[in-house]
Subunit: 425 residues, 2 copies
Amino acid sequence: MADTESRTGSQTRATTASEGITRRRLIGTAGATGVALGAVGAGAGYAAAASNKLEQTTALTSLGADAVMFHGKHQPGITTPLQARGHLVAFDLAAGAGRKEAAALLRRWSATAERLMAGEAATNDDTDVARDAGPSSLTVTFGFGHSFFSRTGLEKQRPTALDPLPDFFSDHLDKARSNGDLWVQIGANDSLVAFHALRALQKDAGKAAKVRWQMNGFNRSPGATAHPMTTRNLMGQMDGTNNPKPADADFDKRIFVPESGSPAWMVNGSYVVVRRIRMLLDDWEKQSTAAQESVIGRKKSTGAPLTGGDETTEPDLEKTDAGGNLVIPLNAHARITRPDQNGGAAMLRRPFSYHDGFDPDGAPDAGLLFICWQADPLRGFVPVQRKLDRGDALSQFIRHEASGLFAVPGGAEKGGYVGQALLEG
Amino acid sequence: MADTESRTGSQTRATTASEGITRRRLIGTAGATGVALGAVGAGAGYAAAASNKLEQTTALTSLGADAVMFHGKHQPGITTPLQARGHLVAFDLAAGAGRKEAAALLRRWSATAERLMAGEAATNDDTDVARDAGPSSLTVTFGFGHSFFSRTGLEKQRPTALDPLPDFFSDHLDKARSNGDLWVQIGANDSLVAFHALRALQKDAGKAAKVRWQMNGFNRSPGATAHPMTTRNLMGQMDGTNNPKPADADFDKRIFVPESGSPAWMVNGSYVVVRRIRMLLDDWEKQSTAAQESVIGRKKSTGAPLTGGDETTEPDLEKTDAGGNLVIPLNAHARITRPDQNGGAAMLRRPFSYHDGFDPDGAPDAGLLFICWQADPLRGFVPVQRKLDRGDALSQFIRHEASGLFAVPGGAEKGGYVGQALLEG
């Protein structure tokens, strides 16, 4: 796949009617319900059926029909648009499982991911949970944690970029929900499609690996808003405004390991930092909108900097008000996280929100599954978090509760599997 | 609202462009992004934008624009089509709170539900979590539990239908996650819209009531499948095939309390049984498809009875195979749950699936938030569950872990609130 293609997101393709009718599930579905396949992907289903929804026959719109390519220069799930549902799961290799078992597992996982992302059934004993549904932009992404390399005798192949993250003053990390030998990220625009993939991959793990921790997340459903450029988080803020864009000249350099990078098996790969960041919403929501905007440095409604303009306007970091005070305070989150305040550090944030119910005192166990991608964590997450750790006005309203750092190799070639260059190198 | 209208689901309306542009959020959104409002509700967004999704400008499709009416003969969220995301939450009145505080709370809740279901902001201190989004078929439904009536001195108004459910042999109920004074069901096709409503209603509770338990669930996203008639559950089975249909002549009679019913404040209301039913998926998935189909009595792929036909074909309960055995076994789930096997008992099942992570042994804490609606639990859930409790082949693969029974009054009139006839009666 050409470089420019992967950068502009064309790994995502809409399933056209002519593609769709060759696929097993769509045929079965259409045969059973008499849906006109000509409408597949045309987005014509909702509006026409709105008057009698309980027994409507909704056409498979592109929500279900959208498929992301498994094979490619990079793994899917990095530049893929945010999906409505996500599962993060870490596995530890079982006692006695080593490099050979890991290679076989990654081969099984890659084969399953390829099939499910194309809307096909898993090879063995499919649970049927995703039956009738289209691939719904399913992506599966695989990564390797620091401990993986010791357990498989591959220490010499371990990137220095996987060295443990420094301790941060404000961390409250639960080790049982942090790190792990292997990491899998699942995203889809349909919750049953995502759960189906989770179970299929867990089954593939068999006796080779067992679940260490698992988290569920969500984002907006496609079409719920006409403002898809940036999502909102559970604090009500726009999130991701200042993300690097695939069209940026230096996007690849910042996010992916270059051809000249080392170790060689990580070329075209990326490093992911995963943080379960709990939001102290009871405290946050007691603040006035003005106070919240001062913490962030941006207007809550539009995402525009407090110094004016719209969401994409550059903030004027020197601007002062009539009293001589900085309009965007020194400890405003948006100021501290700016690349030009951090030696050019940049990362691609691609989070899910989470909500796991309420504590006994009524406080929601909710926040952000922060997921950020970079070519080098020491030039991405670490310098930014060091600065946030010292003086971010937002820090009193959040708590980092779990953390993981994983090496995510480049995408698999047809016939190959993710991590092959490491495991057979 | 006319009877026939509510029965055919026309409480659900698509927001048209002319409606949409008068609404605060959509205006703000369109102004910021330049989306052509003529496309709102036309479903034209996805396919056109598929080639470059990371920076696409998706039009607000009917997923976001669909709004359900709060006011009506019945409360919303009963015959409303299944939504992609759901929150169930039970509240207990605070010490010292009685009828007066409950009435004020239901008035606040009804006002908030009306606003949010129309896509408007909550009255006070909106968290902005749903900002930019359309109402996304949001519904909010309120119910009263057995204990509510003692706490408010309204014992004389308590329906006998709220008498505690009988003990079932196979129950493993967690009392802390069962019952409660008040019950709120939230459903929406967007997770942030649903969470936004949950927080707004929790805030409304203030010092009058506190969260007793809360559960999150999900269903298919609209458009993920071309087979919307019946959903699938996490066992991979179609679920709801034999549900009564709003077009059935006796639908209202089975599901809603009639004009002549008692107590008077429950006229047009319904009773809901809520069960958290854990699925023992590791055990279930070890069974062959044929064994699973024998447990259910239906083909897993199509939902058709094992005696032939398609999903809507009546099963032939007497049919035997060459060996003289019943094709649909005596303990098959689909046989036991049939109304004609239960004195005509019928209920409208409208569930969400749930998945709350994994147990330490790797078993998923997942299953069904079973929600069923009926005019009388003693002629709906109870006789069916009694029979299932004794001899359902499915029972070895599921475990009822929590239970609630609530009286859900009819819908509020404009200017009124849910439960007004009870609380001011």
